[in-house]
């Protein structure tokens, strides 16, 4: 019991502490691909620290909702990330919610963030909220269809059980798994506001979605929201790793050296994932907002196709 909770705490802290580093690696990799030197890897930590030391400038008519949202978004995202098995499966909290619950927790954070974007009553906040909800209205069902496909295969919506199933030798290569992987990558890109859906580095007003909602935030509030978005990137990468490259995941009754090895392997998976992301982002241009529905809608269709294939034949 004690051991399980220690492991759970380690997993929670690892998620929290490694997330900014991961974003640092993405930025560095993107810069190197563009032949720039790029900021040091620890720059996200420095940014967070600097933001924490700054005063908060609140808009005159900001309500309590605006001040509470950063805490809520951070809490739900962090919680969702701890529910995803990173290096070990079957941790105590993993049973509190299944994959549908994780998606709903992220949706809860998004609900509040979109409301906060509308709280001050500026046009940029509204544009961000409106577009975010449009993208989410396609990305969320796409995610649900991916969950359907995988849950039909594994006979469970619990991530730990799914990962164990996908580790077992009777999975093999399946069309559905391929379709789900592509769909999950698209959803991950859309949910994390990455290129080509949104550009995390832009401050060109009309092209931003996620940043537009955060426009009125400053100081510690902004730090929390930034940290939440770092964690979200980590969460999606962990999710892909846990479902599609589950090798190295240690069950909760494993030995301590095994956990150490699992942690190292997990770090390696994250680095590889981040490098692929950086390469993809460098190679592609940002889309117009109204082409995004086609992009995310394709993920929805792929997910549905994957699920339908399983309904038609369990062998595919």
């Amino acid at each position: 019991m004690m051991r399980d909770f220690t492991l759970q705490t380690i997993a929670m802290l690892a998620v929290l502490l490694l997330a900014p580093l991961l974003t640092g690696v993405v930025r560095k990799a993107k810069a190197r691909l563009l032949r720039r030197i790029g900021p040091p890897l620890i720059q996200p930590y420095r940014d967070l620290w600097r933001l924490l030391q700054k005063e908060v400038v609140l808009a005159d008519n900001a309500s309590w909702l605006f001040r509470a949202t950063p805490y809520l978004v951070f809490a739900t995202t962090w919680l969702a990330a701890t529910l995803v098995p990173t290096f070990a499966t079957g941790l105590p909290f993993n049973w509190a919610a299944d994959l549908i619950g994780i998606v709903a927790l992220l949706a809860l954070g998004r609900f509040f963030l979109a409301l906060a974007g509308m709280d001050v009553g500026t046009s940029f906040g509204g544009i961000g909220s409106s577009r975010e909800m449009m993208i989410a209205s396609l990305a969320e069902p796409a995610m649900m269809m991916i969950i359907f496909s995988l849950a039909l295969l594994a006979g469970s919506t619990q991530l730990s059980v799914m990962a164990q199933y996908l580790l077992s030798p009777n999975v093999g290569l399946r069309v559905t798994l391929g379709l789900s992987l592509i769909a999950l990558m698209v959803v991950g890109i859309a949910e994390n506001a990455r290129i080509p859906v949104d550009n995390p580095a832009t401050h060109l007003e009309l092209t931003m979605v996620h940043e537009a909602m955060l426009l009125e935030y400053s100081g510690r509030h902004l730090a929390l929201l930034e940290l939440a978005s770092f964690i979200k990137l980590l969460l999606y990468l962990s999710l892909i790793a846990c479902l599609f490259v589950p090798w190295g995941l240690v069950p909760a009754n494993g030995s301590w050296p095994a956990f150490g090895l699992g942690l190292l392997l997990y770090a390696a998976k994250m680095i590889v994932g981040v490098c692929i992301l950086a390469g993809f982002e460098t190679a592609i241009a940002k889309m117009r907002v109204f082409r995004v529905p086609t992009f995310v809608g394709a993920a929805l269709m792929l997910g549905l196709l994957g699920a339908l294939l399983l309904f038609v034949s369990r062998g595919l």
Partner: protein, 668 residues
């Protein structure tokens, strides 16, 4: 015992109605009437809950109604569940009416019908023969119709009342035929006798379709929904809450009673029909809602969405039952019943909130609201809870029932029929899509009405509503949260209902460790609202403490930044129309033939530029417009008959006589 008690409650409602008519002429009876109805409803609710928890079942025959049959009443666990829902909603609406009803200019037009409406809904659920059932059903329709027309000075309401009474009569007609077929040639109208002579084959299918049309038209199933978004908003807000939150549930009860109880074993295509209708309602309802600017109409359309979700659950239950997957059928039925409870709670709550906003601002148009969170903080909090619950977000109750429905869908690949194999995942996608769109719809509703800056002076000067109304709002919001956190107890309470309909129940949930929700097995799926809530609280606390220790605490108020170009005008904010514009472009161009036309005057012309958006209701165009056209055409043609000479009338009578005699002569 509880049955007689509830019948006394019904009688008390009717007596109150008469008293309200008598006294209403002389003085304003608002407060006493709502006090009495609240008391009766609370007692009735307590009686129903007792009956549900103790699994009591009783029948009673009163010497009223048709000779030879009498008026039969019966209370079993299914009716006890729905009686609890009806009376809880009734109590909420009555107490809310205590505060809200003071704004009413003509209480005499509302109070008597309000009491009759509550009585009739109780009677529908209690009745045990077709005659009593239809009579109560029609009484319920007429009482609610009178309430829709309470403010008949406004032309919109007259139109709403007209469409409503047409659709209600049509629905009752379908139910009448359904009961006629169920009664068979022997004319057995008591439910007891119907259960003994269940129809088979084609007749059973026909009864199913008629029941779907009859109950579905009252519940607001697409394409029979056209009256609902007109009628529900037209009534006073606490009555809208009753109509949307409670009366639609009585319709669901009628459907469950006829199809799952009176009718024999289901056939698989019944489930298919329900899934298609439910999926279409869920998606169309929420999309319609996203494009409305009237706050009560948004809520009415969202009712259609939720009714769709309930029917998806029922459709799954029927499909599984037809193929003898008992465990899965019970799960799907429980999910549907759970959503019935949830929707009655959060939809009532949201209509109460809209009533509070309406009372404070006299404005239903979202485009003229805004910033109410500063003026009405408690209403805003309760409304936020309702919006979170209806969007299916944890740890509120809406998430649990939608989660259970998804779990039921995941059991469906075992079904042998190809139609279901392909239909169920498609319905799953529709459900996921409508849940996500509901999130957008309620971000829009709350964000435009309560956040931002006031778009009109009425919103800027709004005052928080009265204490009694606020207490109702907070109690309903509390229900939404508590049921979401410990759903196991509700599922256990639903056990006897599924036991009586499907002869089995879900595993006992309150015995699970840590109050987890485990529908089938822990390895398959589990959800623990309590842990989730605690973990959110702990994470929030940790973040708060860490920020207190590590971060600067200074906070300064300043004008909004807005990328350096702040505009003091409130018109520069996003409006309800602009918020839904991206979604309209994505979904509306196909489904609603949404067209934008922009009119820019030539240079030198000082007129403002205009943008108009046109949405077409496809269902209306396809189903109702041809029908109403045909009726008008026929009526025009038949109109000629009014202006004939006496000779022609006589020859018409003669011809009719000859035709009838020929028919009689050639019969057999």
């Amino acid at each position: 015992m509880p049955l007689a008690f509830l019948l006394w409650c019904v009688l008390a409602f009717l007596v109150t109605a008469v008293a309200a008519i008598v006294t209403g002429q002389r003085w304003n009876a608002t407060t006493p009437v709502y006090c009495i109805t609240a008391l009766i409803s609370l007692l009735g609710c307590a009686g129903a809950v007792t009956a549900l928890l103790t699994h009591q079942s009783a029948a009673l025959q009163l010497p009223l109604g048709l000779p030879g049959i009498g008026a039969n009443f019966r209370m079993d666990v299914l009716s006890a569940l729905f009686l609890a829902i009806v009376n809880l909603g009734g109590a909420g609406a009555s107490i809310f009416g205590l505060g809200y009803g003071r704004h009413e200019a003509f209480p005499g037009r509302i109070l008597p019908f309000f009491c009759v409406f509550l009585a009739a809904m109780n009677l529908v659920v209690l009745s045990d023969d077709a005659f009593t059932f239809l009579l109560s059903w029609e009484l319920m329709s007429l009482a609610s119709w009178a309430l829709v027309l309470a403010h008949h000075g406004e032309p919109e309401n007259v139109h709403a009342g007209f469409v409503y009474i047409l659709m209600a009569s049509f629905g009752t007609f379908a139910l009448l035929l359904a009961f006629g077929l169920l009664a068979g040639p022997g004319g057995q109208y008591s439910f007891e006798a119907i259960r003994l002579h269940q129809p088979m084959g084609m007749v059973a299918g026909l009864v199913f379709l008629l029941a779907l049309v009859g109950a579905g038209s009252k519940a607001g199933l697409v394409p029979l929904h056209v009256w609902l978004p007109l009628a529900h908003p037209a009534a006073p807000s606490h009555v809208s809450a009753l109509m949307s939150g409670i009366m639609t549930k009585v319709a669901i009860y009628a459907f469950i009673r006829i199809v799952l109880d009176l009718l024999g074993p289901p056939v698989w295509w019944w489930g298919m029909v329900l899934l298609a209708a439910g999926g279409a309602s869920a998606l169309m309802g929420v999309l319609y809602g996203l494009f409305q600017t009237d706050i009560k109409r948004v809520l009415a359309y969202s009712t259609i969405e939720n009714i769709g979700i309930i029917f998806i659950g029922l459709g799954l239950a029927l499909s599984f039952r037809a193929d003898h997957f008992e465990e899965a059928a019970i799960l799907a039925l429980t999910a549907a019943l759970f959503h019935v409870i949830n929707h009655s709670l959060f939809k009532s709550l949201l209509f109460f909130c809209s009533g509070a906003v309406l009372g404070a601002t006299h404005e239903r148009n979202l485009e003229r609201l805004g910033g109410l969170i500063h003026r009405m903080p408690v209403t805003a909090l309760a409304c936020l809870a309702g919006c979170l619950a209806i969007s299916g977000l944890p740890p509120f109750n809406g998430f649990v029932s939608e989660w259970l429905t998804f779990q039921a869908i995941l059991l469906s690949p075992e079904l042998p029929q190809w139609g279901l194999k392909l239909g169920v995942p498609a319905v799953g996608a529709l459900l996921a899509l409508s849940v996500a769109l509901a999130g957008a719809c309620f971000v829009r509703l709350f964000g435009i009405a309560f956040l931002g800056r006031a778009r009109a002076p009425v919103a800027a000067n709004a005052l928080e509503t009265d204490k009694i109304s606020l207490s109702v709002l907070l109690v309903f919001a509390g229900f939404c949260l508590v049921i979401g956190v410990v759903p196991g107890f509700v599922i256990d309470a639903l056990g006897p209902v599924s036991q009586s309909l499907f002869h089995g129940q879900m595993p006992i949930q309150s015995a699970q460790p840590w109050l987890s929700l485990v529908p089938i097995s822990a390895a398959r799926s589990s959800y623990n609202g309590l842990t989730l809530l605690l973990m959110i609280a702990v994470a929030l606390g940790l973040a708060f403490v860490a920020i207190r220790i590590a971060a600067s605490r200074s906070t300064r108020r300043a004008p909004a930044w807005d990328c350096g170009f702040p505009n003091a005008g409130t018109l520069t904010q996003y409006t309800a129309g602009s918020f839904s514009q991206p979604i309209r472009r994505v979904f509306g161009t196909v489904l609603f033939r949404a067209r934008e036309s922009i009119e820019v005057p030539p240079p030198g012309d000082s007129r403002p530029a205009r943008m108009t958006v046109r949405l077409q209701d496809v269902v209306w165009d396809v189903c109702y417009a041809p029908l109403s056209g045909a009726v008008t055409y026929l009526a025009d043609r038949l109109n000629v008959l009014q202006f004939l000479t006496i000779r022609r009338y006589l020859s018409l009578v003669f011809a009719t006589l000859v035709v009838l005699l020929l028919v009689v002569a050639t019969w057999q």
